[in-house]
């Protein structure tokens, strides 16, 4: 299975190999029922090493790091930490040993301050007297300034990630695990994060970096362990491999390049939004100001921007979960010539729209329900699904199977709970559930957030195909690479306002990145000053 694995190159990777490894996994194996999530994985990481863990959806990356962090118990195999055999039975123990982890989804309380959030997460015996000051100094020291008194709700996603990182740093980790950390960051923020990680590595901390962005892996890490279908297929020196080689190792097949789409011929305008404004509901929301956009048949409009700039508010307004309540709100949203401003999500679906909101768990899908029940969520209006108020289970099951088959959703059983699918597979399911209906207009938000390259590519291809068949697609995304890959037109959402719309071929990623990042850099200067004052 490792025919292509250039194992020998790893041997000369770094001088650090001379020293004793920090953590070694021997034959780590974990099964869930019939599904072997990790099979006989050997793994080594050295102190001060920047090490990537690469793999497709369901390749077993999450399972593997959960075993290291004490969230899962291996069926077979064992770990050695600093030369001693250890059993890590829970995250508390992992943290006490010096293993820190920054999860993909943060576990922060919006209504508490930075210092309060960190105080909650630290072990009980950690001294808390000068915590605020400690946070200010530590964060400033690593160039990721945080004001300990800020409410988490007021922070950008990138700043929230800093809170998680600083929480780990306070416990002086020997190994820091970062699960897809860059998927929420601007290019500028990513650079900043990399500086922190490199600095940590220089100080002797090992960093296990999980990402599907091959550019970043090549840029940051020196070695990579590549998993495919639960098996380690290669351990490589990342500098010796091209992006394409890495991708092929990971996917196990030749990678097909996607062509940037050419702008379609003049076609009919499908969806028009005119002068849409929305006041902020509360302190944690962003007001939308005078949103104007339109999208034509066959066209993909990319809305770039950093999370927290009104994306979820805009998405709610487009799906109809939020509708303007003031009078004369007519004709703000039109499908063709029809006014759909006042229609509910169900009404808009009947009119020919389809939506995929950003949050898979509890919004686009219900984790505690089966896939067939999740099909019902947006499909109860379709033929034969509900008769006389009763659900036709055979029909929903058939639809769910069809979606899984068409969109390559890998699932542990025939009609599993949505919660038993990996993030990428569930995302393929919710995107597939909408695309399979061939809607006139598909509106998606962060379609590949937290999804690895194989699944992301799959989802993007499916959206591009849908546009080719004459549908219009609006894609709200933080991932510039994704936007440049498939969008024909780009606009940027910043502080609740849209920028002008640009043709993809007329604008550079740097220019868009600047439009995205303007207000954030201003924020940084403020918190840098504050942190400086308080430390």
């Amino acid at each position: 299975m490792t025919q292509t694995a250039p194992k020998t190159t790893a041997r000369s990777a770094t001088a650090k190999l001379e020293q004793a490894p920090l953590l070694v996994g021997f034959g780590m194996t974990k099964s869930f029922g019939d599904l072997v999530a990790n099979k006989d994985i050997d793994f080594t990481i050295y102190a001060g090493e920047l090490h990537a863990l690469l793999g497709e959806n369901g390749a077993g990356k999450s399972t593997f790091i959960k075993m290291i962090y004490g969230l899962l118990e291996p069926d077979q195999g064992h770990l050695e930490w600093q030369g001693e055999s250890v059993t890590i039975s829970n995250p508390q123990q992992a943290r006490a040993m010096g293993i820190g982890m920054v999860f993909q989804h943060f576990s922060l309380f919006d209504a508490l301050t930075v210092a309060e959030n960190i105080a909650l997460a630290l072990p009980p015996d950690f001294p808390r007297q000068n915590l605020s000051q400690l946070i200010a100094t530590k964060s400033a020291e690593y160039g990721i300034p945080l004001n300990p008194d800020n409410l988490v709700a007021d922070l950008s996603v990138g700043q929230q990630q800093r809170v998680e990182i600083v929480r780990c740093l306070l416990q002086n980790p020997a190994l820091l695990i970062m699960d897809e950390p860059t998927s929420v960051l601007t290019p500028q923020e990513t650079d900043q994060l990399f500086k922190v990680l490199r600095r940590l590595a220089e100080q002797g901390c090992a960093v296990l970096f999980i990402s599907h962005k091959l550019d970043e892996i090549k840029q940051l890490t020196s070695r990579a362990t590549i998993l495919r279908a639960g098996v380690k297929v290669a351990e490589v020196n990342t500098k010796d491999q091209s992006k394409r080689q890495l991708a092929e190792l990971m996917i196990g097949a030749k990678v097909k390049d996607m062509q940037t789409q050419s702008t379609p011929e003049k076609s009919k305008t499908l969806l028009t939004v005119t002068g849409l404004s929305r006041p902020a509901d509360g302190p944690f929301n962003v007001a939308l100001r005078d949103i104007n956009l339109s999208v034509r048949a066959g066209e993909i409009l990319g809305i770039a921007g950093i999370a927290g700039n009104g994306q979820s508010e805009l998405m709610d307004a487009l799906t109809g979960e939020w509708r303007p309540s003031y009078p004369n709100a007519g004709n703000m949203i039109q499908l063709g010539a029809d006014d759909i401003t006042k229609l509910s999500p169900a009404g808009r679906r009947r009119a020919g729209l389809a939506f995929v909101p950003e949050e898979r768990n509890g919004h686009a899908a219900v984790p505690s329900m089966t896939l067939s029940e999740n099909t019902l969520l947006t499909g109860y209006d379709q033929d034969n699904v509900v008769r006389g108020g009763m659900i036709n289970h055979d029909q929903t099951l058939a639809m769910a199977r069809q979606i899984s088959k068409t969109y390559d959703v890998r699932q542990p059983s025939d009609d599993p709970l949505a919660s038993s699918l990996s993030g990428g597979n569930l995302q393929k399911f919710v995107v597939g559930r909408e695309i399979i209906k061939s809607p006139d207009v598909l509106i998606v938000s962060q379609p590949t957030w937290g999804v690895d390259i194989g699944a992301a590519q799959f989802i993007r291809t499916a959206m591009a195909e849908l546009a080719k068949q004459g549908s219009a697609v609006i894609m709200i995304s933080q991932d510039l690479e994704e936007i440049f890959q498939i969008a024909h037109q780009i606009t940027v959402l910043n502080a609740g306002q849209l920028s002008a719309t640009f043709k993809t071929r007329d604008i550079t990623a740097e220019r868009i990145g600047l439009l995205m990042g303007e207000s954030l850099q201003a924020d940084d200067n403020i918190s840098q000053n504050k942190a400086g004052v308080s430390s």
Binding site: F32, G33, L72, S89, N90, Q92, Q93, R95, A96, M97, G98, P123, P124, D125, Q171, N172, A174, T319, G320, E321, S344, P345, A346, G347, R349, F355, P357, E359, G362, H363, A364, A365, V366, P367, S368, M369, E373, L376, L377, T378, Y380, V386, G389, M390, I391, H393
Partner: protein
């Protein structure tokens, strides 16, 4: 330090063994309490759980006792599944009984069976309206339905008290706070089972209760309406995304559970009392909350859970008569049983982990 850690996989044997174990532990705890109170524990347990089932007529009475519990808890299960916390079923029951009483007392000469239908309809309407109040306040003003529905229960208790003492009092009742007796057409007759005949006080309200539970289960598990209710309970945001209205679901479950509690009130009065009096219910509206949770919010299981709780109630009566064990022990039993089942449920999904402080302190600076 003790911590609860979520189990990744719940073994199948646990889901079967734990409820049985919970009941076993409840019995052991009960025996212990009896022993501590100075009663022979085995005899007390026998009086509590076996004696009430030793004759066929007692089985009929058990179903009679369970009847209002099953009907009310079915309604409450709809609420709780939708994450709407109706605690005021007792008040809705009372209003239902009053609604039915108003119909019965308005047609004292009625002989048609239509009377009882009219009473049932009015009972459900009155209960639904009483349930609609906390629902409406929640939807319109975001008030807490727990508080409002509970407060409305006290209003209902005093309302029926006043009604039977003043406007509706039977002038021939020698000053007792009672209404006139309902006409015969407004009473629920005893059931005669084919081949067995009458079984204690078993009346036609019992099959209605079973139908309500079965119908509730069917609606909740098979219909789009039931799906909406579960969806709003599990993931309200997904529910709004699907295009359902949270307000509508809240009003629906509040009114449905109010209507069912009202129906239970009408059945209770028409089958067992025959007139309105200050005391109609024996806390059925509150006990039904326990039944709903014992049934793990499944209407079919509410039949069994209703019977178990009814057995503890009857056992309490029996033990009080034969062994002079105070009736409050019934409440203690219900409490222990609920506690054990919930604890068992928690331990099915979580494991207890001991964290030694030495383990933490030892290496944290490493």
């Amino acid at each position: 330090m003790i911590m609860l850690q979520k189990r990744k996989d719940v073994p199948t044997y646990l889901t079967i063994a734990v409820p049985l174990l919970s009941i076993l532990v409840t019995l052991l705890m009960g025996a212990l309490i009896f022993a501590m109170l100075g009663y022979p524990p085995l005899q007390a347990l026998y009086e509590f759980f076996i004696a009430p089932l030793s004759r066929p007529d007692q089985i009929g009475n058990l179903f009679v006792k369970a009847c209002p519990l099953i009907i009310i808890s079915t309604g409450l299960i709809f609420c709780f599944r939708a994450n709407v916390w109706n605690i005021g079923a007792e008040g809705q029951l009372i209003l239902g009984a009053m609604g039915a009483g108003w119909v019965a007392l308005s047609f004292p000469e009625a002989e048609s069976r239509m009377l009882i239908i009219g009473m049932a309809v009015m009972a459900m309407l009155a209960g639904a309206l009483w349930g609609a109040i906390p629902g409406l306040l929640k939807v319109k003003f975001k008030t807490n339905e727990i508080l409002v529905s509970l407060m409305l229960t006290y209003i209902a208790i005093f309302l029926v008290d006043w009604t039977v003492r003043s406007p509706w009092r039977d002038p021939m009742a020698f000053g007792f706070p009672l209404t006139k007796a309902y006409p015969d057409a407004g009473l629920i007759p005893l059931m005669s089972l084919p081949g067995i005949g009458r079984l204690g006080q078993l009346h036609w309200g019992v099959p209605v209760a079973l139908l309500v539970a079965i119908g509730g289960w069917f609606y909740l598990s098979r219909s789009l309406g039931g799906y909406q209710i579960k969806l709003m309970g599990d993931a309200p945001r997904a529910g709004r995304f699907a295009g359902f209205s949270q307000s509508w679901v809240t009003m629906f479950v509040m009114m449905l559970s109010g209507a069912l509690a009202g129906l239970a009130g009408m059945i209770e009065v028409s089958a067992n009392i025959g007139m309105l009096q200050p005391q109609i219910s024996f806390g059925y509206g509150f006990t039904a909350i326990i039944v709903a949770f014992l049934a793990r919010l499944n209407p079919l299981a509410a039949i069994a859970a209703g019977l178990v709780v009814a057995l503890a109630e009857l056992g309490g009566d029996a033990a009080q008569i034969s062994m002079r064990i105070p009736k409050v022990v019934t409440g203690i039993f219900n409490g222990i049983l609920l506690f054990m089942l919930l604890a068992g449920e928690t331990l099915t999904h979580y494991r207890i982990v001991w964290i030694r402080s030495a383990e933490k302190g030892g290496k944290s600076h490493g």
